[in-house]
Amino acid sequence: MNTRAWIAILLMVWIPGGLYAKTHKHATPMSVLKQKYLEMKKVIKKYPDQRVMRDHLRQIMETFIDYEQLSALTLPGTWDKLKKKQRKEFVDQFKQMIQRTYVNKFNANQKFSITYNGKVKYMKGGKAFVSTTIHSGRSEAQVDYSFHKKRGKWWAYDVIIDEISMMRKYRRQFVRIVRRSGFDSLLNKIRNLNIRRRKEAQQQEKADASKGAQSEP
């Protein structure tokens, strides 16, 4: 390979990498949030099918919520003692539960608007806080986000809806269960719940499909 070819390869690798680094360097929690809300709005508008829309919303949540950090914070004193495999499964099960709970609140074609309340509040330890208000119809809710920086990118690790922190809400319950019956019991509970809800969703889908088939001429 001659020198020109090496330079070309180096440029190909370096230029996109540099651009990526520049984009993330200038991203702020606010810009991340604005971008995600925009994506969510597009998804809600684009997909009239509730199931497809919710699947896409889950994918968006994956790209800006740090479920690992959220899981670690809900299990103070326990997380550090868990094995890598246990952590992985807990994060996976907890994520399913969280996504189902929050994504199910969205409906296809639901119109909503967002007001950003003030600027980003940067805190010690590379943390930041963004406050928003979501307006939908006549109702509104204050939805705040706690961010932290991980691998050069801002991730939300807690969502506070009308002053109730998702992380703290579950932390209280999880700590109680772990103290009473241990971590495995908690994991089993969440795992069983997810299985049950998945079955229910499948049954609902079947029922909807048979309804649709009946209504067709």
Partner: protein, 442 residues
């Protein structure tokens, strides 16, 4: 053919039902007030009362105009023959007798009686108009109160209906836990849930009844058969000013006070009228009469009274006076006492208005505070209910935690809408207290 006929009948019936539904109109507050004002018997009574007072004014005005009496008659009569010394009635011959008399009087000077009478009547009309304004303010406040109470009840009902999903969700989950014999299932939870659900239905029935009652009241007030209420109830935008401002406005614009001011002016004119009654009326009077019969002999002598063949005209300057001095003194005393009574009533109303302004402002202040607290409570209870609902959904809290939160949420919503309705009605009451005429709501 028969089938087609049936279809067309069904379509016609559907159209009728649909048209009937479309007829139910969503009533805004402005429309409700307008319809109520047109429909109000109180307003009609006040308008007729003013009409009667206007007629009195017309009569008072007519006192300055010349007045005349006209007498005319025609009759058959037997012939009257001869003269005043020697005459007879001839029943064998009949003829006619015609007679006309006009008497007139023109007041020249009455020592202020006519102008006092006119002034009293003119102020009487003003009293009538202010009474209309009082009736109007009463109707407006009545409609506003009923309307806001209705909106409050409807908002509570809508909220309760909206909360049905929580009941269904909780019931479904309990059933599922029971069916699966889940260790999380507690049979006592089933009873707790039953109590909660019954309370919910009872509250919904109560709210529905409140809405129905308020709608009935609106229908009666507006005279509209089918009315619907818009959704949502928000507090009115209201900025507090100093109490002195409201008192000043009330003293300037309150129709009750304006009516009493006019009544006092009318009584003052009455007193002037009673004083003038001690003086005579100066007038010019005139009289013309003509009598004729074709069967009565004319009397040659000017000293003989001959009503059957007469022709006369006369004019004179006259003076008239009632000498019942005792009665006049009594009338004047009575008019003065009635004037003093009205002045005292006006002073009492002024004091009352100050108290009413103070009370209305205190009510608004209280309801605004309560509104603030209710809003905070509602917001907190909503967050609480959503959080418990999520936890319950995921099996991390019991039915009691959920129902406690949901009950508090609906209770706080009930309090909030009640507070909004009370606040809005209090603002409207203040408007009435300061005599703000209704010009439509923003």
């Amino acid at each position: 053919m028969r089938a087609r006929l049936w279809v067309s009948w069904l379509v016609a019936l559907w159209c009728l039902v649909y048209a009937g539904r479309a007829g139910a109109r969503t009533l805004t507050l402005d429309e409700a007030v307008r319809h109520a004002l047109n429909n109000s018997p109180l307003m009609r009574a006040a308008r007729y009362s003013t009409k009667a007072l206007k007629a009195r004014l017309l009569k008072a005005k007519s006192a300055q105009w010349p007045r005349a009496d006209l007498v005319g008659l025609i009759a058959p009569m037997p012939a009257q023959r001869g003269n005043a010394i020697k005459g007879y009635t001839d029943l064998g011959q009949w003829g006619y007798f015609v007679f006309t008399r006009i008497e007139g009087i023109i007041p020249i000077y009455t020592f202020g009686k006519i102008s006092a009478l006119k002034t009293a009547a003119r102020y009487g009309v003003q009293v009538g108009r202010y009474r209309e304004a009082i009736a109007r303010a009463q109707v407006v406040l009545q409609v506003q109160s009923v309307y806001y109470a209705a909106l409050g009840a409807k908002a509570v009902l809508d909220a309760l209906k909206d909360g049905r999903k929580y009941i269904n969700k909780a019931g479904k989950r309990l059933k599922q836990l029971e069916q699966e014999d889940d260790p999380d299932f507690d049979p006592v939870d089933k009873m707790k849930f039953r109590v909660f659900r019954s309370q919910y239905f009872s509250q919904t029935a109560l709210a529905q009844s409140m809405v129905d009652k308020a709608l009935d009241a609106l229908r009666v007030l507006t005279g509209l058969d089918d009315v619907q209420l818009p959704s949502g109830l928000a507090p009115l935008a209201w900025k507090r000013k100093k109490r002195e401002y409201y008192t000043g406005e009330a003293l300037k614009h309150r129709p009750e006070l304006m009516a009493l001011n006019a009544a006092v002016a009318a009584r003052e004119a009455q007193v002037r009228l009673r004083k003038a009654a001690f003086f005579p009326d100066l007038y010019v009077t005139g009289r013309f009469q003509i009598g004729h019969s074709n069967v009565a002999d004319p009397q040659g002598s000017p000293f003989a009274d001959d009503p059957f063949n007469t022709y006369s005209a006369a004019g004179a300057l006259g003076l008239k006076m009632d000498l019942d001095i005792g009665g006049k003194v009594a009338d004047l005393d009575r008019a003065r006492a009635e004037l003093s009574e009205l002045v005292a009533k006006r002073d009492a109303l002024r004091q009352g208005i100050e108290l009413q302004v103070m009370k209305a402002l205190k009510d608004i202040d209280l309801y605004r505070k309560q509104l603030g607290y209710a809003k905070t409570a509602m917001k907190a209870a909503k967050s609480w209910a959503i959080a418990e609902s999520d936890l319950y959904d995921n099996g991390f809290c019991g039915i009691k935690d959920l129902t406690d939160a949901v009950v508090q949420y609906y209770k706080s919503r009930f309090d909030y809408y009640n507070s909004v309705a009370r606040f809005n009605i209090a603002v409207m009451r203040l408007q009435q207290v300061i005599g703000n005429t209704w010009k439509g709501h923003k």
